[in-house]
């Protein structure tokens, strides 16, 4: 791992990318062919670093002819998502399908339900507006408060605090997007007898940055153990195109551009990685603070925010609850 193990620094997250790629490739091959008994893997491609890395690993593990890349744009998607996804697929030589999910989302009234939720706090909001959900920064309060940012057709932006009802309705409506995409991935998985890949990195998996039965659902999650900065290292080693490496992480869920830290995480991913690592290894906040050029109180706040997010994530990770285990259904029996 790191070169200088004495003083805490980003070096603690340095990977032997070649060895790690080999380990994951072996895992994917074993998981897909032996344990899941599937012929290949479906990967939803967002043009982001995580899905690109998973697709590149899948190609190494299974061969390009056993990997399907799916593009699933909708009305609010950035054009970059499709363009960069196509760039990667071409580079990898995989078969792709494009499914514009806007029609399904309209059928489910996703956009109407979202707009109605926003109108409860911004009555003038209509379909010509753009919007995004943001959280208050940890510096302003330890309570992470949700706001909607709306932009009028004239380009004027304002930020309005959400009520609990509006927040829940807005999230419930936009979650149709992740769930529709997963439904489509399973369509192709069923059609070709493939497994479905989940593409969370460790930050997302640990802190619950996913939609239950949406992007949280998958047969295999090959990079869930890797910090985001390690995913970047692996992506670089695997030859993921530079333009994808350079793209700032985005949720690509709302019509206004939205970074992941304004929506969910407290800090940019490289700093969040180090806080998560520091907390996992019981490093004092002062040590992490020094490595990040922040103060101890800020790191303590991030540590508490991690605990709060994990508390919410527990429900997301839970399997359906049964009165008692049905031992006949346990794999391997």
């Amino acid at each position: 791992m790191g070169k200088n193990m004495n003083k805490f620094s980003p070096d603690h997250l340095r990977l032997d990318a070649s060895a790690e790629a080999e380990r994951i490739v072996f895992f994917i091959r074993d998981a897909v062919f032996t344990r899941l008994k599937r012929k290949g893997m479906v990967v939803g491609l967002s043009g982001g670093i995580d899905s690109s890395t998973v697709a590149a690993l899948a190609v190494r593990a299974l061969g390009a002819d056993r990997v399907i890349g799916l593009f699933m744009p909708e009305s609010d998607s950035s054009d970059d998502s499709l363009r960069l996804g196509q760039l990667l697929a071409k580079e990898l030589g995989i078969k792709t399908f494009t499914e514009d999910i806007s029609g399904i989302l309209r059928g489910a009234d996703c956009y109407r339900r979202r707009d109605e939720a926003i109108r409860t706090v911004v009555p003038e909001y209509h379909s010509g507006y753009k919007s995004k959900l943001v959280l208050s920064s940890l510096d302003s309060s330890e309570f992470r408060i949700s706001y909607v940012v709306v932009q009028s057709p004239e380009g004027e932006q304002r930020k309005v605090r959400l009520t609990a009802e509006a927040f829940l309705a807005l999230v419930a409506a936009t979650n149709f997007k992740q769930r529709t995409r997963k439904m489509m991935e399973y369509y192709y998985a069923d059609r070709f007898l493939y497994a479905v890949a989940g593409t969370p990195n460790r930050l997302e998996y640990d802190l619950g940055f996913f939609v239950k039965s949406g992007d949280g659902s998958a047969d295999i999650k090959p990079i869930a153990h890797l910090y985001k900065s390690q995913v970047y290292q692996l992506a670089g080693y695997l030859g993921v195109p530079q333009e994808i490496l350079n793209r700032p992480p985005t949720t690509d869920t709302y019509s206004l551009p939205q970074s992941q830290e304004e929506f969910y995480f407290s800090l940019p991913y490289d700093k969040m990685d180090l806080c998560l690592y520091g907390k996992a290894h019981r490093l004092p906040a002062s040590e992490v603070a020094e490595a990040l050029g922040m103060n101890e109180a800020q790191i303590e706040r991030v540590y508490r925010d991690i605990d709060a997010k994990r508390a919410v994530a527990r429900y997301l990770h839970m399997e359906p609850l049964l009165i008692e285990p049905i031992k006949e259904t346990v794999a391997g029996l």
Binding site: S141, E142, F143, I145, S146, A164, A308
Partner: protein, 89 residues
């Protein structure tokens, strides 16, 4: 106990503890540290304060010192609405 504190305690029992009466929440118990409240819970709490006590909760009010315990909430409500401060049950 003031009527305000009684109302706050009732809210905590009904909404944060889902009606469980076997859990004791002390006046200074931190909602955040004890896992009783998350970010959605804070928004619900704001609605309770605004509707029940007819007070306006500003963005700058949304700090643990005002909202993170029964005692903090009671003090906050009484400071926002002095008419509620004196009465006792």
């Amino acid at each position: 106990m003031t009527p305000v504190e009684a109302q706050v305690r009732q809210y905590v029992t009904d909404r944060l503890l889902f009606g469980r009466s076997d859990v004791v929440v002390e006046g200074d118990t931190s909602f955040l540290e004890s896992g009783l409240i998350d970010s959605t819970g804070v928004l619900e709490l704001v609605a309770f304060l605004e509707e029940s006590f007819k007070i306006k909760v500003e963005d700058e009010d949304l700090i643990p010192a005002n909202l993170d315990s029964i005692n903090a909430l009671t003090r906050f409500i009484q400071a926002k609405s002095p008419a509620l401060a004196d009465s006792r049950v």
